[in-house]
């Protein structure tokens, strides 16, 4: 099996030759692999495509995440974004400050200005080298928090919950437009990012009230077009069963969640992707720590298939590259069926 076949086999419910490895190695770290600072690749999507392809080639994992985050995605609804050097890009201002602003939110054209070209380029490279390429879009809940600002958005949970619902509804077409642009680009799967829906940030009740319906609607809308991987980082244990009911093909689970417990809560019909700690193990740990974490993850989730080895969240820029190499090396060692 080649890398792409291995990845797609798992999503199709088959047991592959070995557990596929698809770390969340995105625009935070990939530029370092080609010796470029993040801000350069933020302004030049082709630089990012080159970096993502180079990282995949160097480390040999099975799929690259076509992270649009350093391209048009954060400012696609008009949010100004700043980045300097290797810093994480910051959305520095909000575009929805009142109910009236909802009317002004236009559905973006993701293809405008050649912004999807880097994704197309990466997909071509993936086809040539037989690895999977994953698209990545924000959920309506995360988009809503981005355009309103996290504080304003979450203050409204109690002050004006209808505003929260209306805002999520207003940005849903943006999520779908970006998702379809990725599908047209030829990606193999789509990661729907909903980091702010984590039980480390909002209560399970608020997740069910605001985030879950939008996830379910988007995934339902894309059903039959592409498999969707739902990403919720940090602690998602209290909502794993709900996440499985969204219709997602896979759940991206972070390190605070026990994989065996997540499997029990999610059932056997959904793939689990995770859950190596991108900070404690990959950024700050040793190669031996990586081996131990990979072995533990395989022990907890490999049996009977339905598992993709991954980090639980984005790998920080300061992570040593030998730890990423170790992730693949030990993923292969412990991942054979």
């Amino acid at each position: 099996m080649n890398s792409r076949e291995r990845f797609l086999a798992v999503l199709a419910g088959e047991i592959p030759d070995m557990v596929p490895i698809v770390p969340v190695l995105d625009g935070y770290l990939a530029p370092k692999v080609i010796g470029r600072p993040n801000d350069e690749c933020f302004l030049d999507g082709m630089c990012l495509a080159e970096a993502l392809a180079a990282a995949r080639e160097r480390f040999g994992y099975d799929g690259a995440v076509a992270e649009m985050g350093l391209g048009p995605e954060p400012n696609v609804l008009g949010c100004p974004v700043e980045i300097e050097g290797n810093d994480v890009p910051l959305v520095v201002d909000t575009v929805v400050n009142s109910r009236e602003d909802l009317e002004r939110l236009a559905v973006p054209d993701p293809w405008a200005g050649g912004k999807m070209e880097p994704v197309v380029r990466l997909v071509e490279q993936g086809k040539t080298d037989a690895y999977a390429v994953l698209g990545s879009v924000r959920s309506p809940f995360e988009y809503a928090a981005t355009v309103r600002g996290l504080v304003g958005f979450m203050t409204d949970f109690y002050r004006d919950p209808q505003m929260v619902r209306d805002l999520i509804e207003a940005v849903k077409p943006a999520t779908l437009a970006l998702a379809r642009a990725f599908i047209e680009s030829g990606v193999d799967a789509l990661v729907l990012k909903d980091s702010f829906a984590s039980s480390s940030m909002v209560s399970p009740d608020h997740y069910r009230e605001f985030a879950f319906p939008a996830e379910r609607d988007v995934i339902g809308d894309l059903a039959g077009e592409i498999p969707v991987i739902l990403h919720i980082c940090r602690n998602s244990m209290p909502i794993v069963a709900d996440m499985a009911r969204t219709g997602a093909a896979a759940l991206e689970i972070d390190s605070p969640v026990d994989l065996a417990a997540a499997r029990q809560a999610a059932g056997r019909d959904v793939v689990l992707k995770g859950n190596i700690d991108s900070v404690a193990v990959i950024e700050k740990g040793s190669v031996a720590d990586v081996e131990a974490a990979v072995a533990a993850a395989m022990e907890a989730a490999k049996a009977e298939g339905g598992f993709i080895l991954s980090t639980g969240d984005s790998i920080p820029v300061s992570a040593p590259l030998e730890n990423i190499a170790a992730l693949t090396e030990y993923g292969r060692k412990y991942g054979r069926y």
């Binding site: 520095v92 203050t155 002050r159 909002v202 209560s203």
Partner: protein
Amino acid sequence: MDGKKLLVQELLEKFENAIIEGDADASAEHAGAIVAQGEASADDIFARLSNAMEAVGNRYETGEYFIPEMLRSADAVERAMAVLEPYLFEQKAERSGVVVMGTVRGDIHNIGKNIIVSALRAAGYQVHDLGVNVSAAKFINKIKETDADLLLLSAFTTSTKPALLEILKALEDEGLRDKVKVVSGGASHSQEFASEVGVDGFATDVKSTLAICRKLMGNE
């Protein structure tokens, strides 16, 4: 305890609970009652405020509260402070200082900063709030413009150390380091971290912020 003192304690208790429960209407109402009754000292009020925010933080730590519940309590503080500010301002015993405050570059957290800004204004300080993700240059310009006594740098996590170091270096380069006292603050800050960075003091909550500002202004 005489009747008046008992009433003050009851009012302060209700004020504290309203903040913990995130009931902004009640916190403003109890703040109004405290002002009308006129017996509570500024220290009493700030102590209750600190207790309340600590309780909110504990509920977050134990998984009872999440970010929206913390914001609801921050909202209750803001509403109460709007009522209390004139009353607290009249009581201020210390020399008013000029404060420049902001959340450092690379950090967009503003809940804690906003609470501190309200508390400092209420305590009589003239506060210039520069917002979040503030560059070293912006801090320097505002310090020059206002002739500030204190620079308060809000930084949610200790991963902001490079940004703090950059600001301190800029102060040195501009010859301002001896003219302004620098305090870094955030829930994860410690004496060890403050020493590593080279600030004059650190704070983790409202109470410790007011205490360190008072000390650095020579009002201890």
